[in-house]
Structures are given as C-alpha cells and as structure tokens.
C-alpha cells in the first residue's frame, strides 16, 4: 500500500527513517546483507518493499548486494543498498563499476569503528573512503553527511534525485549513533523534480537500437575521454551541489569545523561558549564531496583560526587545510575507534584552543 504522507511528525529510528524516505522517493529495489549497526534498514525494507510492489533481496554478501544494485539500476529502477564500514569496504568494487558505467544508485554507510572488524560504535573513520575514492580509478561520489534525522530524511530523498540527475552513485554517510537514535522528524512528502528520461536503461531493445551498459573502454584514447566526461560532471557538482551550515561565523575568532554527529555534539559546546561571550562559531559541511572549499576559503580572514573535530584520527581536517591553503592555523581534535565525545568534553577542548 502506498502511504501518502502529509507532513506528519513522527518519532523514528534513524535507520528506519532513511529506509522510509527511500521508499517515499520511489526506491523500488533494495539489496543488503546484515551488519550492525544498520540492520534495521534491511529489516524495514523486507516488510515495506512488498507493500509498495518493490523488491527486497537479502543478498549472500555485500559484493552480491552492490552488484544487484548495479543490475537494478541498469533497468532504470531506483535502487539502494546499505551497510556499515566493513561491508562498505566490500562494496567498493561495485561502487567503482557503478561510477564507471554511469549508473545511479544510493549507498548508505552507517559507520562503525575500524580498521578491520573494529567495533559497533558510531564512528566517522570512513571519510577518506567515501570522499577520496575507496574503489579503484578516478571517480567521485556525491557524499551527504546529515547531522539529525530530519536532515537524514530530506537528504535521502534528494540523494535519489541527484543520482538520477548526474547518473552517479550517491553516498549517505552517517554513523551508528544517527542510525540507532530515535528523535522526532517531519515526514515531508516527496516531490520529484524534473529529471532526464532514462533512455540508456536496459529494458529490451523494442523500437530502438540496443543499449549497452559497460565500463570497459579499450580503444585508443577512449577511456581517457571517458574520464574527462566524468570529471565534467564532478566539476559541475562542485559548482552547484555544495551544501553547508554555519553558526555564529561573522565575529568568530575560532571556527570549529565538523560534520555529521560530531558537528551536532560540537554545536552544544559552541552554543554554551557563545553564551559565555566567547567568539566561537561552527562551520558544518553537509556535502563532503563536493567539499565547501570556496566557502571555507571565504570565511578565512584576519587572525581567525580553525579547529576541526571528528570521530576519527583526522581525515576531513586535510580538506579544511587544503581549503584554508596556509592562510590560517588549523588544529585538530578527534576520537578514533568508535570513541564518542560529550558536549562537556568539547566545551573544554574548544576553550583550550581559544
């Protein structure tokens, strides 16, 4: 049954919210493999997909799941898979092929601690993997990093539109905390923007020339040309898809930069320090690729300093440093291995850097 939503406020778990948002956005194919802390996504999909005449498959591995997404997307269907860090590593092969074959897809990473089997606590240690490649070859994903469930809901819907618009895989990079937490959100209804028709889809060649979906380009110079075509898309995304959020930037002497759940924890500390009259602000990239490099460069003036806070050993901080380009001091505070900071801890940390 198609549930039509009229801006209903509900209390939901992150993993279930993103699954329902995907259904609302027209996702009709989901394949996944169990891994904590994202199990609610396949569980939810296994019940909801049949209700909307969609397809749910519990795959034999993450490799199979991402390749099922590859096949589903090739038919023109909206398709999604989800996993957590070790499983996302397994999906990298398929993600590279999706990028190479220009197939739209949505991939959710509910990050946990690593490396290796790591643990099952929330983490942000897959920033490099999501933003800098992960799989082989020159390609980029559009990467969304929401910080609450409302944004998770909204960006999940947007992810499907952008995947179709650019014919790219889009990643939603959250973590175990956001996936597992419950909070209220407004289930806004989905409105599809105008998108190009999927004339490339494999449906059988009735009334047209055969279509081919492939990523092999063996002819002299063919692959180079192909890579430039992909680059043109990534450049276009850099111009039009950057999203960010900021708090008290104007008169700040210190700007905390953070993404996802770390930014949310940091915002509590920043607000408290502001109440005490401290000139501190928060800058939060929402798209990790394209990274808001121009926006960071723009706010980099005077004696302003930056402090990047992440739940890892220092990954996004490299992009902050590249954006600042030597014009300001950039410090880093992080908690790796599934370590989570508290607002009180960050209050002390930020104060120390003031």
């Amino acid at each position: 049954m198609e549930k039509k939503l009229i801006n209903k406020k509900v209390l939901m778990k992150g993993n279930e919210a993103l699954a329902e948002a995907a259904i609302q956005a027209g996702c009709r194919f989901y394949a996944g493999y169990p891994i904590t802390p994202q199990n609610e996504v396949p569980e939810y999909m296994s019940q909801r997909m049949p209700e909307v005449k969609g397809i749910f498959i519990q795959a034999e591995s993450e490799l199979a799941a991402i390749n099922m997404i590859f096949g589903a997307s090739a038919t023109g269907a909206r398709a999604m898979t989800s996993s957590s860090s070790p499983g996302i590593s397994l999906k990298q092969e398929g993600i590279s092929y999706l990028a190479g074959a220009e197939l739209p897809a949505v991939i959710v990473n509910v990050q946990r601690g690593g490396p290796g089997l790591g643990n099952i606590s929330g983490s942000q240690a897959d920033y490099f993997q999501a933003v800098k490649g992960g799989g082989h070859g020159d390609y980029k994903l559009l990467v969304y990093a929401p910080w609450n469930l409302q944004e998770l809901w909204d960006l999940t819907m947007k992810a499907f539109d952008k995947a179709d618009e650019y014919r790219i895989p889009v990643m939603i990079l959250i973590d175990g905390i956001l996936g597992q937490m419950m909070e209220p959100l407004v289930q806004t209804s989905y409105k599809q923007p105008k998108l190009p028709k999927k004339e490339w889809a494999l449906t059988g060649c009735a009334g047209r020339e055969p279509n081919v979906i492939k990523s092999l380009y063996m002819g002299e110079g063919e692959l180079e040309k192909r890579n430039y075509k992909l680059k043109e898309k990534y450049d276009r995304m850099k111009d039009t898809e950057v999203m960010y959020d900021s708090l008290y930037i104007d008169d700040s002497e210190l700007i905390v930069t953070a993404f996802g759940i770390a930014a949310r924890i940091a915002s509590s500390a920043v607000k408290k320090l502001r109440k005490e009259g401290r000139k501190v602000g928060l800058f939060r990239p929402i798209t990790l690729f394209p990274f808001p490099e121009k926006e960071i460069e723009h706010i980099c003036k005077g004696n302003r300093r930056f402090l990047t806070i992440e739940m890892n050993m220092g990954q996004m901080v490299e992009d902050v440093r590249l954006s600042v380009n030597g014009k300001a001091e950039v410090d880093f505070y992080g908690r790796p291995g599934g370590g989570t900071m508290t607002p009180e801890e960050l209050y002390d940390v930020i104060k120390k850097y003031m």
Binding site: I57, A64, A72, V212, S215
Partner: protein, 251 residues
C-alpha cells in the same frame, strides 16, 4: 536458389575477433539464432563477461550489460526480478563462475532465480594468457602450473554443474561439448531448452559447455578437439544433470 543459412538478426554484422578454433564464436551464433527462433530479440538482456567474451556487446544485437568478474548472477537476479517478462541470460567462463563468482552462482541457483546461465568451461583463463582455472584438469599444463596441475599443490578441478544440481533451486542443469558435430548440435538444443524453461517461468537453468581454447592449450585447432574428447569429457561427463520438470530424466 534457396537460402538455408544466414546471419541471425540478433548478431550485428561485424566479424568476430576470437582466436582460430575458439568456441565463443559458435556459442554466440547459437545464442543469436535461438533468440531469433524464439522471436525475443527485443525482449532480451544479455551479459558481457570479464574475459575473452567481454566484447559480446559488440556482437549481440540486443541489450547487453557488462558486469564485474564473477558477479553476473547477482546482476542478473536484479534485472530479472525487475523485468520478469524479459529473457535474461549470463554468459560466464570458468574463472568467472567457478572461482571468483562461486558465491554468486550458488546463491542465485539456490534462490531458483528465473534466468539462464551459459557456463563456458575451457579449463583455462583465456584472456589473461592461460593460467590455471578451477576446471583445469589434473596434469594439464598452464602458465601457473607449468609442470602440469598437481593435486597435492592445487587440489582438484571443480564439477560445478554436479555441485549445483545438489540444490533444490535449479530447474535445468546440463553439460554439453563443442568437440564434435553431434555435441555441437546438442549444445544448441540444450541452450534453447534452458531459454524455453526461463520463458515458461520454470526457474534457474544452466548449460555448461566444454569449449576449446587452442591458443592457451598451446595446440592447433585440429589438435584441440580430440584432446577435449580424450581428456575433458571423461573429467566432465556430458548429459542432463538435473531436470526438475522431466520425470525420469534426473540422470
């Protein structure tokens, strides 16, 4: 004059670039002829596998998807589930299906996915230059078993069709060969049956075809065929291995 043979519409008018004596050309032609005979060219989605047959999209005149090594059964699962009235077939070599893609083929078969698999067993990795495959015969020389495959070092060739036939899911599993005119005709019949089973929604079908690779066997095409008969067929017996729908045809 009566025309008795012509290029099938399902094959583009381009020459094959396979080595002399290779089995892929024959198989491509059969698949194209069968699709013409069934009148389903515009409802077919085929696969270009990693390996020598990757250029299938240059030859087949219908929709083709190229997929990662070993993964066609996962990709085909999704396509067929979303487009249940199309003919979907994978075309996979022995490295693809019986080594790197064992998980995908076993689980697609176990689920009884309603697509067909053409499994080309030439006992070697053709495209990469003749390394040991999971189906390389004991004693067979390859570039990674230069003294002949030694079971003490590399174990035994995998009989994937017999393995899959132990599952409940598959509907039709059959092994054929391209070593003689009779076996060539049987190969075409078996592929047509597999496709017909799919169209009749009877479930998962697989035809394993023993196919010559003279180049990587370091033989002439003339030597390759008797070698197949003498060495490959005893190791990989021909015939219907499983047929869920034909009573008394289990063996």
């Amino acid at each position: 004059m009566k025309k008795i043979s012509k290029r099938p519409e399902s094959l583009k008018p381009v020459p094959f670039r396979f080595c002399a004596g290779c089995g892929h050309g024959l198989l491509h032609k059969f698949i194209a002829e069968i699709i013409d005979e069934l009148g389903i060219r515009e409802k077919t989605i085929g696969f270009a596998p990693v390996g020598c047959a990757v250029f299938a999209y240059d030859y087949f005149n219908f929709d083709v998807i190229e997929s990662a090594h070993g993964r066609p059964p996962a990709v085909a699962t999704a396509i067929k589930r979303l487009l249940p009235d199309r003919l979907v077939f994978t075309y996979q070599g022995d490295g693809d299906l019986a080594a790197i893609g064992t998980a995908e083929i076993i689980h697609a078969a176990a689920r009884g996915e309603n697509f067909s698999v053409i499994f080309v067993n030439n006992a070697t990795y053709g495209m990469t230059g003749g390394q040991m495959a999971p189906t390389t015969l004991l004693g067979q020389k390859t570039t990674t078993t230069t003294k002949g495959r030694d079971k003490r070092m590399t174990g035994y060739p995998i009989k994937i069709s017999e393995m899959l036939a132990t599952l409940e899911g598959p509907s039709f599993i059959c092994r054929t060969s391209l070593d003689s005119p009779k076996n060539v005709i049987n190969t075409k019949k078996a592929i047509k049956k597999a496709f017909q089973y799919q169209l009749d929604k009877k479930g998962f079908s697989l035809v394993e075809v023993l196919s010559p690779c003279p180049t990587d066997w370091w033989m002439s095409p003339q030597e390759a065929l008797p070698w197949m008969k003498k060495n490959m067929i005893p190791a990989f017996p021909l015939g219907v291995i499983k047929d869920k729908w034909e009573v008394g045809n289990g063996k």
